[in-house]
C-alpha cells in the first residue's frame, strides 16, 4: 500500500508543487496543513506515514510543531523543508527528531529520494 504523506506549508503554491511531485512518486496525500498549529492537529487526526514540514510558518513554527508531533508520536517520520541560509534552524530540527531535510526550491528527484530514505530508514 502506498505510504501516506501530510504536507505542511503556509504557501498554497509550495503545497501544490510538493503534492504533484509526491503523487507522481506514488504517495497518497492524506492531509495538508497551512500552519504549525493545524499541522499538529491534523497529524493527530490522520497519523500519516510521512510528514513534510515547512519551518517558517505562522501559529507555531515548523520547529515547534515538530516538537509537539514528536512528543505525541516518537515514531513520527518528519522531513523538514527549509531554505538556504537556515542552517541554525536545521540543527534545532535535527535535535528535535527530524528524519531528513529537503531544500527549497524543490528538486523533484532529490525530494523523491529523501522521502524514500526517510520512509525506509
Amino acid at each position: 500500500m502506498a505510504s501516506t504523506v501530510m504536507i505542511v506549508d503556509d504557501s498554497l503554491f509550495m503545497r501544490k508543487m510538493l503534492r504533484d511531485i509526491l503523487e507522481e512518486e506514488g504517495y497518497r496525500i492524506a492531509a495538508e496543513a497551512s500552519d504549525g498549529e493545524e499541522a499538529v492537529a491534523r497529524y493527530k487526526e490522520f497519523r500519516p506515514d510521512l510528514t513534510t514540514l515547512d519551518i517558517v510558518m505562522p501559529n507555531k513554527t515548523g520547529i515547534e510543531a515538530l516538537q509537539e508531533i514528536m512528543a505525541f508520536d516518537p515514531a513520527a517520520r518528519v522531513v523538514m523543508c527549509s531554505a538556504i541560509g537556515q542552517e541554525s534552524l536545521t540543527q534545532a530540527a535535527a535535535q528535535a527528531g527530524a528524519k531528513a531535510f529537503i531544500l527549497k526550491p524543490f528538486n523533484p528527484e532529490l525530494v523523491a529520494r529523501v522521502l524514500k530514505e526517510a520512509a525506509e530508514g
Binding site: 503556509d10 504557501s11 498554497l12 503554491f13 509550495m14 531554505a83 527549497k104 526550491p105 524543490f106
Partner: protein, 538 residues
C-alpha cells in the same frame, strides 16, 4: 518539471503576500514593536522568495531576499522599524508588483534598480530616526491604526478550495439572472395553462433558483479588505506629501461586498480620502490654534445594514459651512441667489457634487481642483447607491455612502404611469402610501402631505416622465416615498404594481445617456421595463 502550470497560482499567491506586506508595514508604523506583524512581514518576504526561486524568477528573488534580510535585522538585530524601513519595504512591494506584471504578460522582467538591494543592505536609521534622503519632506508618516491586533496575512487556502477566474463568476451571475427572467416566464405560462403539475414544478424550480442565486452571490462576495491596502497607501503618501500628521483608521475590513461593486468603489473612495486629507484636514498648527489635538483622524468604516452596505469617510478637520457653500455657488453662477435661499444645509453641502464646484481656496497637486466629487456621486448612483454629506464647521465632515448588496439582481417596486411600466429599486423606496386626496395640502404652488409629522412635497411621476396625468376617480393617490438631495419626496403614480425581482441589464447607447435611467430588465412575459434612478431623475 514543467513550472508553467504553476504560474497563475504563483502570481495570485504572490500578490496576496504583497497586499499583506503593505498592510503590515502600515500597521507597524503605528506600533513599531508589534511582534506579530514583524514576524508575519518576515514570513511574507520569505515565502515570496521561496516561490519565486521555485519559478526561477531571479529578479523577484533578489528583491524579496533583500526585504527578508531587512526584516531579519528588525526581528533579531534590533533595527528599529522606522519610516525609512517602511519606505524601503513599500518600494520593494512596488518593484515586485511590476515584476509580476512582466511575468504575467510573459515578458522579460525589467531588472530592479541596482541600488535597491544595496540601499536595503546598507540601511541604518539616521540619528533623528528620520528618513535619510534630505530631499524628501520630513513630515511624520501617517500612522495607520488598522486593527493592529489582527496582523493579516494570507494563510494560503485550506485544501479543498479552488481558485476561479473572475469572468467565470460574472458568467454565473448573468446565467442566474437569465434564469430568474425565465422563471417568471414559466410562472406566467403555468397560470395560463392552469396546470397544477406545471405550477408545482415551477415553484420548486423557483426555490432552487433562489438558493442558487444566494450561493452565486456568496461566491461573488469579497471582503472589503481586498481593496483596503490601496487606501492605506494613498493616505500615507498624501499625508507625507502635505506634511500633515494624521491617523488613518479602518473599520469593517471583513465585511463582504459584491466584487463588481468593490472594484467600482476604489476610485470614489480614493477621491473622498484624498479630499479628506488634502482639503478637510488642517495643518497641525491650525488645529492647535482651534483647540484641537494636533494629530487629525481620518476614518473609513464599512458596515452592513440588512441588505445595504454603509460606507463612511469621516475626518475631524475644518468641516464645511453650508452658508459659505451657497455663497460660493452663487458667486460662481452655479445657482441663482433665489435657489440658494431655499436650500437646506444638507442640500447646500451637496453642491460640491455639481461639476466645476470647489471650495478649496488653493489648488494643490494632490487632489486637483475639486473636480471629481461629481464623478464620485455619479459612480455611487451608478451602483444604485446614494451619497449624503454631513459637516460641521470646525468639527469635520462625514461622507456616507449607502449601497445595495448587489447590482445585478435587484428587487424593485413596479409602478404604472399611463401605459408605461417602470421599476424603482426598493433600496430607493422608503415606503409606499395610499393617500386620500383630502390629505393633500397646497402650500404656495406646491402640493404637500404630512408624513410622521413632516410636510413632504408631492411630485407626479407622470409629469416627470412627460405622460398624461392620472385621474384617481376613487380619491386615493398611490405614491411611494423616496429621497432627493437629502429630503423626502412623495412620488405619485397611477398604480403601485408590487415588488418584482429583476435582472438588471445596462443600457447601451444612446439610451445610457438619458438622465434618470439606471438600466433595463425583461419581465417574465417578455415586456421590457426601464429601471429608474430616482436621485438622478429628480
Amino acid at each position: 518539471m514543467d513550472m508553467s502550470q504553476y504560474k497563475n497560482l504563483f502570481l495570485s499567491e504572490s500578490r496576496e503576500y504583497l497586499r499583506a506586506i503593505s498592510e503590515q508595514v502600515v500597521t507597524l508604523e503605528q506600533s513599531p514593536t508589534e511582534k506579530g506583524a514583524i514576524d508575519s512581514l518576515f514570513r511574507g518576504a520569505h515565502s515570496l522568495k521561496g516561490m519565486a526561486a521555485s519559478m526561477e524568477f531571479g529578479d523577484v528573488v533578489t528583491v524579496a531576499h533583500g526585504m527578508e534580510d531587512l526584516m531579519v535585522r528588525v526581528r533579531e538585530g534590533g533595527l528599529p522599524f522606522d519610516a525609512g524601513v517602511a519606505d524601503l519595504l513599500l518600494e520593494g512591494v512596488d518593484l515586485i508588483d511590476l515584476l509580476l506584471n512582466d511575468v504575467e504578460a510573459d515578458r522579460e522582467t525589467t531588472p530592479p534598480p541596482g541600488d535597491y538591494a544595496q540601499r536595503l543592505a546598507e540601511y541604518t536609521p539616521s540619528p533623528q530616526g528620520k528618513k535619510q534622503e534630505a530631499a524628501q519632506p520630513v513630515a511624520p508618516p501617517a500612522q495607520i491604526a488598522a486593527e493592529p491586533e489582527k496582523a493579516q496575512e494570507p494563510t494560503g487556502e485550506a485544501s479543498g478550495t479552488v481558485r476561479v477566474k473572475t469572468e467565470l463568476l460574472d458568467h454565473l451571475i448573468n446565467l442566474t439572472g437569465e434564469l430568474v427572467t425565465n422563471k417568471h416566464r414559466l410562472l406566467n405560462i403555468g397560470r395560463e395553462l392552469e396546470s397544477p403539475a406545471l405550477n408545482d414544478a415551477v415553484s420548486e424550480t423557483a426555490k432552487l433558483l433562489r438558493a442558487l442565486h444566494d450561493e452565486v452571490m456568496k461566491v461573488r462576495l469579497m471582503p472589503f479588505e481586498a481593496i483596503c491596502d490601496r487606501f492605506q497607501r494613498s493616505v500615507r503618501t498624501l499625508a507625507k506629501k502635505s506634511g500633515k500628521d494624521l491617523q488613518f483608521e479602518l473599520e469593517g475590513r471583513d465585511i463582504g461586498l459584491d466584487r463588481g461593486t468593490l472594484e467600482q468603489l476604489v476610485d470614489p473612495l480614493n477621491h473622498l480620502l484624498r479630499n479628506a486629507v488634502d482639503h478637510g484636514m488642517e495643518q497641525g498648527a491650525e488645529r492647535v490654534a482651534a483647540g484641537k489635538p494636533p494629530k487629525g483622524v481620518v476614518r473609513l468604516s464599512v458596515s452592513r445594514d440588512r441588505d445595504r452596505i454603509l460606507i463612511t469617510v469621516r475626518d475631524d478637520g475644518r468641516g464645511m459651512d453650508p452658508r459659505q457653500m451657497i455663497e460660493a455657488a452663487v458667486r460662481k453662477g452655479v445657482i441663482t441667489p433665489e435657489e440658494g435661499e431655499v436650500l437646506s444645509p444638507r442640500q447646500a453641502l451637496m453642491l460640491v457634487c455639481i461639476p466645476g464646484f470647489s471650495t478649496a481656496k488653493t489648488v494643490t497637486d494632490v487632489s486637483g481642483r475639486g473636480v471629481g466629487m461629481d464623478a464620485v456621486n455619479a459612480a455611487i448612483q451608478k451602483l444604485g447607491g446614494s451619497l449624503v454629506i454631513d459637516s460641521e464647521p470646525g468639527q469635520g465632515s462625514t461622507f456616507t455612502l449607502r449601497l445595495p448588496m448587489t447590482v445585478a439582481i435587484i428587487h424593485a417596486l413596479m409602478v404604472q404611469c399611463g401605459k408605461v411600466k417602470s421599476a424603482v429599486p426598493v433600496t430607493a423606496v422608503h415606503r409606499t402610501v395610499e393617500l386620500n386626496r383630502r390629505q393633500v395640502e397646497t402650500v404656495g404652488k406646491r402640493q404637500m402631505f404630512q408624513l410622521d409629522g413632516e410636510a413632504v412635497p408631492l411630485l407626479s411621476l407622470n409629469r416627470i416622465l412627460g405622460l398624461p396625468l392620472g385621474r384617481f376617480p376613487s380619491g386615493i393617490l398611490p405614491l411611494f416615498v423616496t429621497e432627493a438631495k437629502g429630503r423626502r419626496v412623495g412620488i405619485v403614480v397611477d398604480r403601485l404594481l408590487g415588488q418584482h425581482e429583476l435582472f438588471v441589464k445596462p443600457l447601451g447607447r444612446p439610451l445610457s445617456k438619458i438622465a434618470g435611467l439606471a438600466g433595463g430588465a425583461t419581465l417574465g412575459d417578455g415586456e421590457i421595463v426601464t429601471i429608474l434612478d430616482m436621485a438622478d431623475l429628480l
